[in-house]
């Protein structure tokens, strides 16, 4: 019995010893593994730090080259450099945007479109990306897409001064709409800009010039006036406003603006300044000639008679250049109409609005027909012809 007991005790002790040995062995093995692992980790970490800093440096170096090439107008070189930069700094947004810009500037329209589109997919609300896509859509002859993208750009997010950038995009959109002949849409955009514009005379001037192209004279005039109010001593603004007003038939505004321009610019031998002064003189002469309905009736009648003299003289001179058989029919008819008009006096005219209109119409018709038959007029005739061309505006 004691032998069995001794053997049992010995076996149990042996098992415990074996277990202990196994545990010690495992502990030793895992400790060794941990040490190996720590050494490997330290070495990898050191190498990795060096590696990442080297790559970042390469990325910066190539992006600087790309930016420099882009600034120097070498977009092809910029593309290569920026692609390399992105290999070393994948996902760097600024490099990606620069690369997309370079592609667009290098004329790789499709590639640039695809690249910007992929950037757009990750950031569909980015104003700048939408703007670039809009420009590329124009190049790809997709004007409707372009307009939509311009609008997305306007309502998108912008870094920095968003309102200024959005306004610039809207101005660009207006230009696009005008080029496509969508004057009403362009006018609507301009009204939005004008409604949100701060007191910037240059902007008002730009808006006025664009508004003029939409055909909305009233709004254009308002914008020019506002520009002049904001910068009363700016000869350029005044001259631009005067020029437009004269061309559009707003002679009073033209005269005022051109006078302001002349006064601001002072005496100068500059051809532009001389042209402004000449235009001012013409505007003032226009005002002196035009039989404004606001004038007292006798005075208006007198002006009409003055116009009649100018017109008749022009007709006579033109007829003199024609041989009888070859005189154009409309000129002959015009001459016959003049015979009835010659009998009008201040008294008969001042109380007869219909006769006033008829006389004014005859003078304008004379200037138009004689211009066609006898060539471009000069002096007062030229001014009357201009007036005839903008009669509606002048009357308004």
């Amino acid at each position: 019995m004691s032998e069995i007991s001794e053997r049992f005790t010995a076996d149990t002790a042996s098992l415990a010893a074996t277990r202990r040995k196994l545990m010690v062995w495992d502990a030793f093995a895992f400790l060794s593994l941990t040490l190996v692992l720590l050494v490997l980790l330290a070495v990898t970490l050191l190498l990795f730090r060096s590696f990442t800093s080297h790559r970042a440096e390469l990325g910066r170096r190539w992006s600087s080259r790309g930016q420099a090439a882009l600034t120097q107008g070498k977009p092809e070189q910029a593309i290569g450099a920026l692609r390399t930069a992105l290999e070393y700094a994948p996902g760097d947004r600024s490099y990606e945007l620069l690369l997309a810009q370079s592609l667009a500037e290098a004329g790789h329209t499709e590639e640039a479109w695809n690249y910007f589109e992929s950037l757009w997919e990750t950031e569909p609300g980015n104003g700048w990306i939408n703007l670039q896509l809009a420009r590329l859509a124009l190049r790809r002859r997709r004007p409707d897409d372009a307009v939509n993208l311009y609008r997305a750009a306007i309502y998108g997010t912008w870094e920095g001064d968003g309102s200024v950038r959005r306004r610039a995009v809207r101005l660009e959109l207006t230009e696009v709409l005008l080029q496509q002949g969508h004057k009403e849409a362009a006018r609507a955009e301009l009204l939005v800009i004008a409604g949100n514009a701060d007191n910037d005379p240059t902007l008002e001037l730009t808006l006025a010039a664009l508004m003029a192209r939409t055909g909305d004279g009233t709004e254009t005039l308002r914008l020019y006036n506002r520009a002049m109010q904001l910068a009363p001593h700016d000869a350029t603004i005044a001259a631009a406003a005067g020029r437009w007003a004269f061309d559009a038939g707003y002679y009073a505004t033209a005269a005022k603006a051109l006078q302001q321009a002349s006064e601001t610019a002072g005496r100068s031998h500059d051809p532009a300044a001389n042209a402004v002064m000449a235009l001012e003189a013409n505007a003032e002469r226009m005002l002196a000639l035009y039989p404004d309905e606001k004038l007292p009736p006798p005075q208006r009648a007198e002006r009409l008679l003055q116009l009649r003299s100018i017109g008749h003289a022009r007709l006579t001179a033109c007829l003199a250049t024609q041989t009888g058989a070859e005189t154009p029919t409309d000129l002959t008819l015009l001459n016959a109409t003049w015979t009835t008009m010659q009998r009008q006096t201040v008294h008969t005219l001042q109380d007869n609005p219909a006769a006033q209109q008829a006389m004014l119409q005859l003078v304008f018709d004379t200037e138009r027909i004689t211009q066609r038959v006898c060539g471009a007029p000069a002096g007062d005739d030229a001014l009357l012809l201009t007036m005839a061309q903008h009669r509606q505006t002048v009357e308004e």
Partner: protein, 593 residues
């Protein structure tokens, strides 16, 4: 550690060799200890493999900058020189120092598992690391994933040998390390696990699944600690708004199927041709392949050199026109065929993804140009294209789907991926019946199991060998006197009676044994009392056929019962029936072969 201490520990670790009274206890302890060590080691292996793969990737990129410059471009002389010179160095080292490092690494890992008991030498690991890094870094058109897989497997083999595990455990550590290596290289643990199961182990095995998952996750944690958690490629938003767009993805599946066929054919023709050349010629092959690959880069397509991740990224972001994408796909097939066939160590994964991405992006770009309502981005087509080539060329359909999901981190792409991958996979199967890894295996003179066949093999079930219910049925609670009336004395001695016991189980007895029982025992004792407490195992018709084999020695006829109604007999199984069924199976296989 000395051989003496090794043998001492071996004795301790393998208690079956020591015939002592405490054998059972020690065996139980060793088993428990083995399981714990196994799981813990899996984590260690994952971490070490992760660190090595991070270093491997760094080495490749560093060598690339060093050898090809920071911005390799067309008409740069070094594009010709670097891969050619690297080829010379690789050929010399492969011939004289690291003879086991040729090829991708997948088949070598499988060979380690099935032939060498999980053994991969440390020299092979070092050689694979250095030479694959040099090859890929110098511009050879190969990828780092398969070498990473082998490096991981090598680390696992080395560590498990040092710790002193059983041969069985040593063998299964190779796929565990392989999963860790691949997971770190791909930054995609699920794909790595699935690939190892699909392509290395060939079947789901509960014994190793836990360890594979642990090691893969550990290695990915390490890789992400270094590289960040971002997926491998920056994928733009992927959407599928219109189901009609699936047609476009189906077209991509067809294109991928054809491309994979071309790629596989090119490799299966050129590789054996080059391997048949004399030794001196084989020494020159990596250099010549490097020169040709460099020439393609020099003449205008440097994108096809190296692994090509940046180019894949660029294609995903629609930076190329469709003609360029197509050219890149075609030349990548050519350059990879050259590099791989020349015996230069490096993988096939990255080139496969490259070709797939280019084809996908090309199809996407064309479809966007000609079918304006297509809403998917070029990136989504490139992504699906990668999966398509993976499914068709590498023939790992499940991995291909999960790889795309993991890489894109977007589930909405699942339908296009499944559709396109399935089409490409089926096309590839019908046009190229033998998978490419198996082709390489045969070319290398190895006889490894075909994973595709293994996956598709369906073991016969008991119902396939089921015999009709016999008439020789007895009730267990009958007294022996009653039994006597049912027994025909003229029966053959080995006739077998099935006995239904009152507890719903079945037992059995031969005719001769039953007669002896009747003769010798008292007539009022029941049959079940005479048979004793032993019962037949409970078997159902849907169980695998092999499950009957272990019991047939004890029970010549086995009762197969219904799962729906306990104890109700649906048929029997005999040894003869099982053998006949397996013979029939073999005949079918032979006929198919």
């Amino acid at each position: 550690m000395t051989e003496q201490s090794h043998s001492r520990w071996r004795r301790i670790l393998h208690p079956e060799s020591a015939l002592r009274p405490t054998e059972a206890e020690l065996s139980a302890f060793a088993s428990l200890r083995g399981e714990r060590v196994f799981l813990l080691l899996s984590i260690f292996i994952g971490i070490i493999a992760g660190l090595l793969v991070v270093s491997f990737r760094m080495a490749i990129e560093w060598l690339s900058v060093l050898l090809l410059g920071s911005s390799p471009g067309p008409h740069q002389g070094r594009l010709l020189v670097a891969p050619a010179l690297a080829g010379v160095v690789i050929a010399l080292l492969t011939r004289f120092v690291f003879p086991q490092v040729r090829g991708s690494g997948v088949n070598q890992t499988k060979a380690a598992l099935y032939i060498h008991n999980g053994y991969i030498s440390f020299r092979t690991v070092i050689g694979k690391f250095l030479l694959a890094a040099l090859a890929i870094g110098s511009g050879h058109s190969l990828g780092p994933e398969d070498p990473s897989l082998q490096i991981g497997a090598g680390v696992a083999s080395l560590v498990s040998r040092r710790v002193g595990l059983t041969r069985e455990k040593l063998r299964i550590f190779a796929p565990i390390g392989a999963a860790a290596g691949l997971a770190a290289a791909f930054n995609a643990p699920i794909s790595a696990i699935l690939f190892v199961i699909e392509e290395v182990i060939g079947q789901w095995s509960a014994a190793v699944l836990g360890s594979i998952v642990l090691s893969a996750v550990s290695s990915v944690v390490v890789a992400r600690w270094f590289w960040g958690a971002e997926p491998m490629f920056r994928i733009p938003a992927v959407t599928l708004r219109d189901p009609r767009e699936l047609i476009a993805y189906a077209v991509l599946g067809v294109v991928g199927g054809v491309a994979s066929l071309l790629f596989a054919k090119a490799l299966s023709v050129l590789r054996p041709m080059l391997r048949r050349q004399p030794g001196w010629n084989q020494m020159l092959q990596p250099a010549v392949a490097g020169l040709l690959v460099g020439l393609i880069g020099y003449l205008g397509l440097p994108q096809v050199m190296g692994a090509g991740y940046q180019t894949i990224d660029a294609a995903i972001h629609a930076e190329f026109a469709w003609k360029m994408l197509l050219a890149l796909a075609i030349f990548k097939i050519i350059t990879t065929t050259l590099s791989f066939s020349s015996g230069t160590p490096g993988g096939m994964f990255a080139p496969t993804l490259f070709i797939g991405a280019m084809l996908g992006a090309a199809v996407g770009t064309l479809e966007k140009a000609y079918v304006p309502h297509v809403t998917g981005s070029v990136g989504s087509y490139a992504l699906v294209g990668m999966g398509v080539l993976f499914a068709a060329f590498l023939r790992a359909p499940l991995t291909s789907v999960f790889m795309v999901l993991e890489v894109s981190q977007n589930y909405t792409i699942i339908l296009p991926v499944i559709l396109a991958n399935t089409i490409a996979y089926l096309m590839s199967r019908s046009l190229q019946p033998i998978p490419i890894f198996e082709v390489f295996t045969h070319q290398d003179g190895l006889d490894l199991p075909s994973m595709e066949e293994q996956r598709e093999e369906s073991d016969p079930h008991l119902e396939d060998a089921l015999q009709p219910v016999p008439t020789l049925l007895l009730e267990g609670d009958w007294p022996l006197d009653a039994v006597r009336q049912h027994v025909d004395a003229s029966r053959e001695a080995d006739a077998y009676y099935l006995v239904r016991c009152s507890d719903g189980h079945w037992s059995g007895v031969t005719h001769s044994a039953l007669l002896t029982m009747i003769r010798e025992a008292a007539g009022d004792t029941t049959l079940v009392e005479q048979l004793g407490p032993e019962r037949m195992p409970v078997l159902f018709p849907d169980l695998p056929l092999w499950s009957a084999l272990t019991h047939l020695g004890r029970w010549p006829v086995l009762a197969i019962t219904s799962r729906a109604r306990r104890g109700v007999l649906v048929g029997t199984i005999t040894q003869q029936a099982v053998l006949s069924r397996y013979q029939k199976e073999n005949r079918t296989h032979d006929a198919e072969a």
